[in-house]
């Protein structure tokens, strides 16, 4: 696969992880005995998508990102790497762990236990918020490369 394919797959898996986490959140707000299985399926889907985003991003970061980093740091937006990428590469672990925790949290009695519901609601909400932050940071990093290349082209 080309470098660009990894760059497209990473945010795609991230967005699918967000959508699944929103599904968990909404379904938990309206939980009944009949939709518990769907909540658990959505939680597992979110976790799988975030793990795929992690693996794809990890491969891109290790193999290809060095070149982009040099371009960004030489361009007019060096903070796209120095702040946004540095934050993203470390904060992503929060999203990954929360998404991994989500299926564990939904394994409890979501429909019968209000403690489990609270944990599921807050965990899914933070998967959404932290993953949205990752998507935003990724967009800034991409723009960092773009403005640097535009500056090089004059």
């Amino acid at each position: 696969m080309s470098e660009q394919v990894y760059l497209l797959l990473h945010p795609t898996f991230g967005v699918l992880g967000i959508i699944a986490a929103v599904w968990v959140f909404i379904a938990t707000l309206n939980v009944t005995a009949s939709n518990v299985d769907r909540i658990r399926f959505a939680a597992k889907t979110s976790a799988v998508m975030i793990w795929l985003a992690y693996i794809v991003a990890g491969y891109f970061y290790v193999v290809y990102y060095g070149g982009d980093k040099a371009i960004i740091k030489a361009g007019p937006w060096p903070w796209a790497h120095n702040f946004f990428m540095e934050n993203k590469e470390h904060m992503f672990f929060m999203t990954l762990l929360l998404a991994t925790f989500l299926p564990i949290a939904t394994s409890g009695a979501v429909d019968k236990n209000r403690g489990v519901r609270k944990v599921v609601l807050w965990s899914s909400a933070f998967v959404v918020l932290t993953d949205l932050a990752m998507e935003g940071a990724g967009a800034v990093i991409g723009m960092g490369v773009k403005v640097a290349l535009l500056a090089q082209a004059g």
Partner: protein
């Protein structure tokens, strides 16, 4: 924080089971560990060199964080201790905000 080793009824209870409690606490600790490891790595060329020697430093970083999460999650789950959902939410929300601020603060102030 409310912990107990008793076995409260699952129905209409605020108590969550030992597995959720264990992995929820493990998440909170792993998130803070993640931020502290980042600070230590950025401050110590020796640690950064060690992590690079194991592979890419970011891959090593992720492996350490995942080991802490799964290791502590299995350990805490095995103790059988349970916690109220409200307390566990405090752990999760508090550690997420604190861990995020630690990382962001580092790159604002030091990085």
């Amino acid at each position: 924080m409310t912990t107990t080793t008793t076995n409260p009824a699952q129905t209409d209870s605020d108590m969550v089971n030992a597995k959720i409690t264990g992995y929820g606490k493990a998440y909170s600790i792993a998130v803070i560990f993640n931020a502290l490891l980042m600070m230590a790595k950025e401050s110590s060329p020796a640690l950064l060199g060690f992590m690079k020697a194991l592979g890419h430093h970011w891959v090593s970083h992720g492996a350490f964080v995942l080991i802490v999460f799964f290791g502590l999650g299995m350990y805490f789950s095995s103790t059988g201790k349970q916690m109220s959902g409200s307390s566990l939410v405090n752990w999760i929300v508090g550690s997420t905000i604190l861990g995020g601020l630690m990382i962001m603060g580092w790159f604002i102030i030091v990085g």
